[in-house]
């Protein structure tokens, strides 16, 4: 089956329960199109966040009045006109109430860097003493030449010779994994790669995950879910707060099935993800150089960090890397948080789904059908999501 064509899916738009709507609906319907009442009648159609107040729940859009009541204070994502008391949303998202503070959590937002975040970034510009890195933040992050490790781990002042050969370290398009060192007052981040686990990325695939990245999800989802308590499946799907969030482990190694060996997963807090063959540092050094003395070992490791040459990666590992990437895509499409726990359970679920499907397929030896089996979409994606949510 080369192509699947589906009928369009009609989104069910029934956010508002119909109990309080009846009278306002009838007023609207006999009046025809009435622009003057449009603004005032809109909030009245929404269910209330707090009983007895006029704060709307559900999704608000930028410019929409959240409440007129002067007792509320405005929080993030809101705005107050100096001449009035009404709180207006500035982003599209859900209203949140903390005591008397009203804020709007955006449905989608760019990544807001914070000190200590592990990020995956792509070099977009090379300047004389620094690189500009795309980290999915509103502003490009900068990576100064002085914030990287020199090959061989030499500690010295950066000279003009280093500036001239700056492209041998990172050049345009290269992917780096780095840590946010400082955040400037305008929100731009400064990165550093002064650790052996940071540096140039190779031997794998990149995927950028949509979602709230680190910012929107960090306060709403993580605070509730950092203890990894059970999250209701409905809330997760409806709110759509998928994507990567700050968690304890952003980098881990998966021992994959089907002879894939070890695979590293790096979840950048900014939503950029890198999945690659596990580089066993000592083994890698030994494979590239036949005679390596134990005293030079550290030098070896750090001198291969600027390589853009891939190792030999067997097809099994490539398959499992592709599978992991798809599992993350499925999670994002389902609006599930992407973290170690969910990715791992999605991966196991995909293996299980494969077994289930494999049993049915054994009867016919149709090659064509077998080939596309690794593509996770439709029913398979749904089944994986079910299994993941079951486990949580």
């Amino acid at each position: 089956m080369a192509i699947t064509i589906l009928p369009p899916v009609v989104d069910h738009v029934d956010i508002c329960p119909s109990d309080s709507d009846m009278d306002s609906m009838s007023v609207d319907s006999d009046g025809g199109v009435d622009l003057a009442t449009g603004r005032t009648s809109r909030p009245s159609k929404r269910p209330r966040l707090v009983e007895g107040t006029d704060i709307t729940s559900g999704v608000v859009t930028p410019g929409e009045i959240v409440t007129d009541d002067p007792q509320w204070m405005r929080g993030h994502g809101t705005y107050i006109n100096p001449l009035s008391t009404s709180i207006i949303a500035t982003v599209a998202g859900t209203v949140q109430k903390t005591n008397k503070l009203l804020s709007v959590q955006p449905l989608r937002a760019r990544y807001t860097p914070e000190i200590g975040d592990l990020v995956v970034g792509r070099i977009v510009e090379v300047q004389s003493r620094r690189w500009k890195v795309d980290v999915a933040a509103p502003l490009l992050a900068q990576l100064p030449l002085s914030a990287i490790n020199l090959p061989g781990g030499i500690l010295r002042r950066r000279t003009s010779a280093d500036e001239l050969q700056i492209r041998t370290f990172f050049s345009e398009g290269d992917l780096v994994v780095a840590e946010v060192q400082t955040v400037h007052s305008d929100g731009a981040a400064s990165l550093h790669t002064r650790s052996l686990k940071y540096g140039k990325l190779r031997n794998g695939v990149f995927l950028a995950v949509t979602g709230t990245g680190g910012s929107g999800a960090s306060s709403s989802m993580v605070k509730g879910g950092v203890g990894s308590g059970p999250i209701p499946a409905g809330a997760m799907g409806a709110s759509g707060t998928g994507g990567v969030v700050r968690s304890r482990r952003q980098v881990w190694t998966v021992n994959t099935a089907n002879g894939g060996g070890d695979v590293d997963v790096i979840l950048g807090v900014n939503g950029y993800i890198w999945i690659s063959k596990h580089a066993d540092d000592t083994a890698a050094a030994c494979s590239t150089t036949d005679s390596v003395s134990i005293t030079r070992m550290e030098e070896m490791v750090s001198s291969s960090i600027y390589s853009s040459q891939n190792d030999d990666i067997p097809p099994q590992t490539r398959r499992e890397i592709a599978r992991l990437a798809q599992c993350i895509r499925v999670l994002v499409q389902g609006g599930v948080r992407v973290d170690e726990e969910n990715v791992m359970s999605a991966y196991e679920a995909s293996l299980q789904v494969d077994l289930e499907v494999g049993d049915d397929d054994d009867d016919d030896d149709d090659d064509r059908r077998r080939e596309g089996r690794e593509y996770l979409e439709g029913n398979k994606a749904r089944r994986i999501l079910e299994l993941v949510l079951e486990r949580n």
Partner: protein
Amino acid sequence: MAAQRQASSASQTPHISPAELSYLYTSLALPGSPIRPDGRSATQFRPLTAETDILPGTNGSARVGFADGTQAIVGVKAEVEKTVVSADALKLPQQTQEEYVGNNDGEANQGSSSGHGSWVQMSIEIPGFRDDDALPVFLSEMMREPLVESVSSEGSGNGEMTGGLKGRLVINKRWHWRLYIDVLLLSQPQSYPLPLLSLTTHLALLSTKLPKLKSKGEEDPFFDDDWDAAEYLYPRSTSTASATPSQQVRPPVTLLVVSVGENIIFDPDREEIAVADTVLAVSITRDSDSDNLKLVSIRTIDPPSRLTQPGVPNSENVTTLGSTAAAEEAAILNPSTGEEEVPGVWRPRRGGVKRSTVARIVKLVLEKGGVGEEVLEGLEGVQVG
């Protein structure tokens, strides 16, 4: 400069690091079964959603959405126009018309029964591109040409479609239909938008209806008011039997095919195009007189891989010199490009395609039960009307 580069090449060349490109290329070039980043098989298409007749003011329309969120809408509008009869066509007697059907040279036969290619106008709108940018112009010509040139030979069983679409547009000697096909890409082009736009146009044309003609012969055209009586531009199979659709003339579909190493991959996404050795746009159509599909055109598309950044092998890299002093990489010959390469290091492709590769692509598309047939069958299955 950057914008021009985008417009001329197969898609925006995304910034991809040499290590990623090398990984992708070697995965896709694995002999036998390529490993695509999303796990599809080589001939598998991304699932798409399709519906027709969505715009009430048009003669036919369709909307297609890919799973990655890209969407396109096509509207087809028909207009009656007076045929401009050129002077020599008036002078020439009737007998030359048969010649024209045989060797169709397009320009001279205005006003004859075979129609004219300029009666079909196509405009493509892609967000971020101007109307006269290279990409929309090139795309629209790439889709219009097979549409008007897909002429079925005369004397086929289906009298209505004699002369293909051009012939269908002829009302009589003095009047003809003019088709305006407006293609609108709703989202930013995630990958090269040609397959999406072509599939949508195909569906829109399938659902296009023209009012029923009441006048006869050389009278001024006069149409039936009743829209229910309107006839499809491309006649639908009247019986529900499954055997008939293969005998119907169908608008062409343009498929994007890339070759990576020895593998041939259909419906590539952006990353796959970025590493492809060759990118071909293959237009196929269904002819009325034979069961087989007909190849209408093949065009090469400038692959963006030649603009990518080359990788630096460890042996030449100043920063990695220490680690590879002992292990000299042996450069090997890439069988598909004939260039020396160090394994694991990305080299931009120089372009060029082998004849055997093109032949394999054509065979894969056209063969019985092949990709082309499955795509056309899938499109036929979309509810029209």
